[in-house]
Structure formats: C-alpha cells, structure tokens
Amino acid sequence: MAEPASQSGILPANAWRLLPALIAAVAFVWLLSFVGPVARGASPELVLPWAPTLGVAFVLRLDGLALAFALLITGIGAICLLYAAAYFRTDRRLGALLITLSLFAISMLGLVTADEVVTLFVFWEGTTITSWLLVGFDHERASARAAALQALLVTGLGGLALLAGLLVMGSMAGTLRLSEMNAAGDLFRASAAYPWIFALIMLAAFTKSAQWPFQFWLPAAMAAPTPVSAYLHSATMVKAGVYLMARLTPSLGGTDLWFWTLAPVGGFTMLLASVWAMRQTDLKMMLAYTTVMALGTMTMLLGVGSAMAVTAAMTFLLIHALYKAALFLAVGMIEKGAGTRDYPAVGGLWSAMPLTSAVIALAACSMAGLPPLFGFIGKELIYKSADYAPALGGAVAAAALAANAMMIACAGLVGLRPFFGARRSPGDRPADPGWGLWLGPVVLAVLGLSFGLAPFAIERALVAPMVIAVSGGPPAIDLALWHGVNRALLLSLATYALGLALYLVVDRIRDGLAAAEPGLPRTEAWYDAALAGALRLAAATTNAIQNGLMTSYMRRTFAVFAALVWGALVLGQGAAWPRLTAPPDLIDWTIVALIVGSVIVVLRTPSRLTAIAALGGIGAGIAIVFVLYGAIDVAMTQLFVEILVVIFIAIAMVRLPASGAVGFRPGNAVVAGALGLGVALATLSVLGADLDRFMTGYFEAASYPEARGRNIVNVILVDFRGFDTLGEIAVIVVAGVAAVAALRAGPRTSR
C-alpha cells in the first residue's frame, strides 16, 4: 500500500489505521449505556424476519451474559485493534489484518448476542473462518498454514455438531429461539434424546474452548501474530465454547451427565495445561497453555453448576480476560523491545522497559491470585465453590489448588524472569515501545487492580446479571477481598506456599518435562491419524471413481440412470400402454425407419464421421416428430442443438486417435439396452397414464393476460418459470467457464 508522504490535511495520512479501534471503542461506550437497564432486568431484543416459513429469524438479544461478553469483545477489541495498528505499523498487510480482525469482532459480537439457532450458527462459523484466516496470517510459513488448518478442522467439526444439536433442540421445543428453549429446559433433560443433544453441544463447546482431548489446537494457533492471539486466544473466541455451555446451562445443565462430563474434563484440562505451561520457554506459548488452564477451570466450574460455582466461573471469566489480554500484549511489547519472547534469553529489563515491567507485574500478580488484585477474588471464589459441589468437592478443591500453584510458578516466570538478574537481550537497545502498544495493556492492568480494590463496582453491574442469565438466581456471595478467616483463605495461603516452592524448582521441572515429552502420548496424534486417514480415503475413492476414462464415466452414469428408471417402473405403477387415437400412418413409419436406420448405422459403422452424421440423423428424426405434433419450439431447439453438437464433435474428432476396429462389448450393450428400454417404457407409461391438464389450462388462460405473450412455451420459460431459467443460464455460464478452463489447461499438460 503506497502511503502518501504529505500530511497536509487535518488528520495524518495514516489515520485510517485507527478507525477500526475507534469504531470498537464507540461500540463499547454505546454498549455501556445498556449496563443499567440490563442490570435492572431488561433484555433488549432486535428481531428481523429472515425465512419466516422455516421459523428462522435474525434475533439479537442482550441479557446479562451477552452484555458482559459484548463489552469484553468491543473493549478488548478496541485495545487489540489499536495495538495491531501500532504493531504492524510498517507492514503492508496491515489493511488485510485490520479488516479480518474487524470481521472477527463482528462475528463474535453476533455470536454472543444471537438468540436464535441459525443466527448463532452463522456467527459461530464466522468466527471459525475469520480465525482460520487470522491464525494463517503468515501464510507464507508452512507451519502457520498447518496450524490454521488444524484450528479450522477441529473447530469446524464442532460447528457441525453445534448445528445438529441445536436443530434437534429446536425441533423438540418447537422454537428456534434460545431464550424460549431455556425457558423449557426440563423438556430436554427429561427426553430420551438428551444424551445425544448433550454430546453434540459439548463437542462444539469442547473443540471451540480447547478442552481435552481437543486442547492441542490452541497452542499451535500461536502461529498467529501477537495482537491476534491476545484477542482471539485469550479474551474472546476460545471463550465461545464456555459461552455456549453457560448459555445452554438452563436447558441442559444440572444433570448427572452434565456434572460428570464437564467437571472431570474441565479439571483434567486445567491440570494438564498447567503442567505443560511450566514446560514452555516461549512466553507466548506459556500464556497459551495457561489460557487452556483457565478454560478448563471455567468448564469445571460450570460443570459443578451451583450458584457459587457459576458466580466463580463468571467472575473468573472477566478476570482472566483482563489479565490474559494484558499479558499477551505485554509479551508482544517485550518481543518488540527486546527482540525475543524466550524468557531464558532476556533479563534485567526492569530499568530499560519500566512501563512494560509494571504492566506485566500487575497482570502477573492477578494471574497468581495475589491480593489486592482482581485475580485474588476469583481464586477465593473457586475454592468456595468447591465447598458447595454436589460431589467430588475435595477433588475439585485439590485440583484447583494444584493448578493455581502452577499458575503462580508461571506468573513468576513471566513476571520476574525477564526483568531481574543480569541485563541481557538479543536486541541491542531494549526500550518501551510507543503509545499505541502500551496504552491498551496499561488500561487492562489498571482495571484488574481497580476491580480488585473495588469489586462492588462491577458486581451489580456485570457479574450479577451474568449469573442470573446462567443459573436463574442471584450470585451466592458478595465479591470482596476479605471474607474473614475461612477455608478458602487457608487454601489460598497453601497455594502461595506451594506455588513459591514450585517456582524455586521450576527450571528442573521444565527440563524434566522437556526430557519426558517425546515419550508421552499426545491427543494431537489422533488428529494427525484422523487427518491422514481422511486423506487416504479421499485418495482411494478418487482413484477408484475418477479414473480418467470417459467411457467408464458414461457407463456408470448410464447404469445409475437405468437403475433409477427401472426402479421407478418396477416399484411404481408399472408399465402401461398408451391408447392410440389413430393408427400410425406412412409418415410416422418413415420417421421410425429413419431413426432406426440411423441407430443401426451408428452401431455398425467403423468410421467416426459416419457415426456422427448418423447420430445427427436420429436427432433430425426426433425433431420431425416434434414438428408433426405441433411443438415447433422444441423441434427448432432440437435441430439447432443437433447441428452444433455435430460441429463440436467434428472439431474434437480431428485430434482423437484413430479408432480402429472396436469389438463388441457386452457390458456396454447391457447398460445401453437397459437404459434405452427403460426410458422407452417410462415414456410410454407416462402417455398411458391420465395426464392432469390443470397446469396446461392455467398457462393457456394466463399466458396473454398476465405475461403479454401468446407463445406459451416461451412465456413459461421466461416468465412463469423464469426463476428456473435464471438458474439454468447461470449453470450454462459456469459450465462454459469450466469447459474453457479445461480446454486451455489440456494442451499444456499433454505437451
């Protein structure tokens, strides 16, 4: 993109870069105006008719859950779009990146506000496709393309499951509106199809939110540029699965199956991701694994499902979005400033990058759950919700304790290692980057601190409406830093002790994990095997079906056609003989003789040219039949098509190899005989049956008054059935393009 050098206008020439961020910020402020009404119980709707006969409408609805997500998407979206504009300041792909990111933001916004199955699905797929483009942004790198394809296939699989599951729910409930389905939740829980619906919806949620065994795609998706990862893979898209589970909790939640699936899978994902986070040396990869850990935590809490657990999940969701986006963006600042994201390669940056250090310190403290940060409140809530779990309370608490301790170790790695110790970095002059990069992370980190100090600021406004939308009741507890000395506080203290101990030996843990890694089973291997199997299957079927032999294609096409015709004849009303009003006269017999004679010539002649001419004779005979019985239009069409076909074949023939003597091929004869006989019998049967002439009468009566034409055939083609014709001519154009492309490619390959 050529940048004009002059900046003579009021705005600098590159002001367009800031436009997407500005729009997102305006949307954020506009959405803020809904906070009051939604907190008071309103849920504004936008309903547009879409396909009323199918019961499909475009419906957006802003309840507590949708509003909180929408605020995250627009707020963090504004920050990430600003950051991207600064991060790719000199990159000519910036325009494409900003457009794709904006499209993603719109899809995500639609996804969380959709209140109708089809609307939700369209936006869900929108996020899948735009994230594919964003992960594969560095499309010249093979690894980025592979990661993008992996994310697309895994989440695309979930998207299909989502559509199936939601449509089954819709047909059971008799409505496609999610709010109405949620109001009829017992209907689903009581039905025999519940396990199937549950499995389909969970497949969608688990793939999108990277739960085990689908967790592998998210770390791989770190091939995306930093602003994309901060936006998609921390704050928004990966939370779409969590959103789905939360949104459908009133419909599907509260059962044993729900609890015994979500809580163990979420807990396992949480622990697994925490362990592997400690293995990473690339800070961005480490953050990716801690994101998987956070998603596992939310899944586990939604699985527990008590009011306390839902409160904890929703609070943690907000907390995590704030600190994780800040950390991702700050790691990008380290990369820009110091030249690497590998923490062993940097140190002592505190004095050179004070702002970056401060942002990371605040966000990492929130991640570690230290008071007075917002993260502390979230961690306390998680421990409290373990007390109220229907089962496995001790296991939930123990798993959360272990995962949180590992988070402290990771927080230490990201928050301490790059800034203390001896000064070293690959870049020669590490420094804080420009305002476009630091503004957003600073805002996020400061918000994390202020919500920790004053949790009541968002409790009524955001958390309570979210919890009400998910669990139907108000939050089980006030958000506060201090709840007195209780079990949660003791668990927090134990977490700090364990976390500190882990941090002290984290280097040894990392090296141990790195050594053990090659020998461990990976679920990604299942993906690789499934993909390879699908490709082998595709290759095998293609080789079997697309063998490149024209005669083979025609034989199969005709055989299938013959089977269909005979099937209809045998299974239907059977063959019938038409009543003839008059016996065939001489001219009819002449035409029959012409056609039959031509057929014999086609079959017997050794010369292609003769065969083609005789084929034209058959067509001419049929055209004469049309003329005799008054179908002039059809006769003319038939005749001209015959002429053109002969010309085409004659041109192509010049290049065909000399045919030589072709022997009698019984297989082909059987197929040809079956098809010819079948079509003849079917045609006779149609004539033998009583025709309903209702449409004929209608066309005759309406042709002139309504369509200003007396030629019924033409009026039907261009007016009464105009839509069919439009489709047909579109097919003709496409077929022409394909034929020309194939003909142009042909000689090149044969040369």
Binding site: D633, M636, V654, R710, V718, G722, I729, A730, R744
Partner: protein, 144 residues
C-alpha cells in the same frame, strides 16, 4: 478449411442466419422462437463463420470476448429479476411499462429473454473457440 465456395457462401449465409436469429428471438414471445432458440441460431452462424474463415475472423466478427457476452447476458437476466423485485416486490415479476402505455413489446421479460440469448450465444462461442484453440495448438507429428 480453405474452400472458396464455402467462403463465398458464408458471406451471404452468416448475415442471413444472424438476421433470422434476431427475428426468431423477437417474435418468440408470441410465435415459435425466443431467446434460447435465437441464441442457438446466432451461435450456429458464428460456428459457420469460424469453420469457413477461421477462428480469428469469427472472433473479430463477434467483437467482444464471448465469455463477457455470456456474463453480460446473465447480468441482463438478473437486472430483469431485480426490476420486478424492486417495483412489484416479487423477484422476476414481469414489468411492461412501455407495453401497457404504448403497446411496445419491451419490458423486463424482454430483457430477461435477451439475457438468455446472450448467455447461449456467448457460452457456445466461448467453448467453440477454446476447442478450436486446443485442437490447433496440439501439433501431432504423426498426423500429416
């Protein structure tokens, strides 16, 4: 094909067929004919020209890229559809403002039929020319 007789006859026959094709298209709404048949006829005229005088001459006579003609025809049909959609709220509803006012047989359906004519003409010529190119660029040494 270098035949003086064919070449000379083509000079008379081609314009005649083209005129005939326009006539057949024109009368199609009330008498046998119409856009599809007219398009086939016009394509046959250009096929004849192509066989008699060569592909370059036929392409020049056609003036436009045949695929552009086909695409333009599809555009005509779409415009005809949108016309009815905008004015009568029904996609492809026939609109005959000139016919109803002055008795002139022009309207959205005429435009639609013209689209069919151009699609058929353009596509057939495109395939015909491409086929001729493919055949003539393949030089087979064994074929003397």
């Amino acid at each position: 094909m270098n035949s003086i007789i064919l070449s000379a006859a083509t000079r008379l026959i081609t314009p005649t067929i083209l005129l005939l094709s326009v006539f057949v298209f024109w009368r199609g709404h009330n008498e046998p004919g119409g856009g599809f048949i007219g398009g086939l006829l016009a394509a046959a005229a250009f096929a004849l020209l192509e066989k008699a005088e060569g592909r370059a001459r036929a392409a020049r006579a056609l003036r436009f890229n045949p695929q552009s003609i086909a695409a333009f025809g599809l555009g005509c049909a779409l415009v005809a559809g949108v016309w009815g959609g905008l004015q009568a709220d029904t996609f492809l509803r026939g609109m005959w403002p000139l016919y109803d006012a002055y008795g002139l047989p022009f309207g959205s359906i005429f435009l639609f039929d013209l689209g069919v004519y151009l699609v058929v003409l353009g596509t057939i010529c495109a395939i015909l020319f491409a086929l001729e190119d493919a055949v003539s660029t393949e030089t087979d040494p064994g074929d003397a």
